[in-house]
């Protein structure tokens, strides 16, 4: 059975099915992170005292990770643009760069977490660290998910380009929407956890 509307837009929605699908998924993701942000606000407002993120966390490392993630968002959209310009080699370079930048983000996070554990700082230490590890940990899992999907589209998944280039381009666009969302979440996590 052929999957409908993978290339052409569905007449009643005006978009191909996967695009509406990913936006609905992202809407559920907004509620997931929204619930955690809401909990953070409630706990912080209700606390007698609350530490400043910049006193407890490594701001330069988090700034570096912000630069890395924003750069990966640019390489991701460039990989899609390369396919739109019918250039698979360029797509591979940009998608490869996106994956490497995502791995660099996780490496920085690994060192950041490692430093906390060395100082015996865990989610159980206090409410601040519980929120910090929960939010950044969940975001990190999303980065891992993005790496898996993007690596598939960079490697074996790219075989689809030869037979169905439009469908493959749509797949990369959908993966890109997810990846930009991961960047969006970090854009809010960074100031909220590290700078306030």
């Amino acid at each position: 059975m052929e999957i409908p509307y993978t290339v052409t837009a569905r007449p009643d929605t005006g978009v191909f099915n996967a695009k509406l699908g990913i936006w609905l998924f992202l809407a559920s993701e907004v509620m997931l992170f929204g619930a955690l942000f809401s909990s953070y606000v409630l706990l912080r407002v209700g606390a007698e005292t609350w530490p400043h993120g910049y006193d407890l966390l490594n701001v330069p490392l988090a700034t570096l990770n912000t630069v890395i993630l924003i750069s990966s968002s640019v390489t991701m959209v460039m990989s899609w643009a390369s396919l739109m310009m019918r250039n698979l080699a360029k797509y591979k370079r940009y998608m490869g760069a996106t994956i490497l930048l995502a791995l660099a983000f996780l490496c920085v996070k690994f060192f950041e977490y490692g430093a906390k554990f060395e100082h015996h700082l865990y989610p159980s230490t206090n409410t601040f660290y519980a929120i910090y590890f929960t939010l950044t940990g969940l975001h990190g899992l999303h980065v891992v998910g993005g790496i898996v999907v993007n690596t598939y589209f960079w490697g074996p998944g790219s075989k689809m380009w030869r037979a169905e280039p439009e469908r493959f381009t749509n797949r990369v666009e959908v993966a890109g929407l997810y990846w930009h969302f991961v960047d969006l979440v970090w854009i809010f996590l960074f100031p909220v956890l590290y700078l306030l």
């Binding site: 936006w23 929204g34 924003i70 640019v74 809010f188």
Partner: protein
């Protein structure tokens, strides 16, 4: 995939570079302001304002929301309403505080 002309895509690519530079500049501003150690209200207002601008740039240009179909906007408006409820409803406890 829409049938956008390669020339149009090249124009969009130039836009992505401009957005990238703007995002970097805004990141520097956010970090620089944090070193001023403003009071929490002002610091939160500035940080969230800059983050919202950055998020709008990513959503508008990288996620192409600047030229999307109605159904996507409808989905996002509904999401925004529920997100706003999620963020504001817990604050209702302030109307009925526990007396100390």
């Amino acid at each position: 995939m829409d049938s956008t002309h390669p020339q149009e895509i090249r124009k969009q690519v130039r836009g992505y570079i401009v957005v990238f530079v703007a995002l970097m500049a805004l990141t520097i501003i956010t970090v620089a302001v944090s070193y001023l150690h403003l009071n929490i209200g002002a610091a939160a207002a500035v940080a969230l304002f800059v983050a919202t601008i950055k998020a709008s740039l990513v959503a508008s240009y990288f996620m192409h929301l600047i030229s999307e179909k109605k159904i996507i906007y409808a989905t996002l408006i509904l999401t925004a309403v529920f997100f706003a409820a999620l963020m504001t409803l817990p604050s209702s406890h302030l109307l009925d505080p526990i007396e100390r």
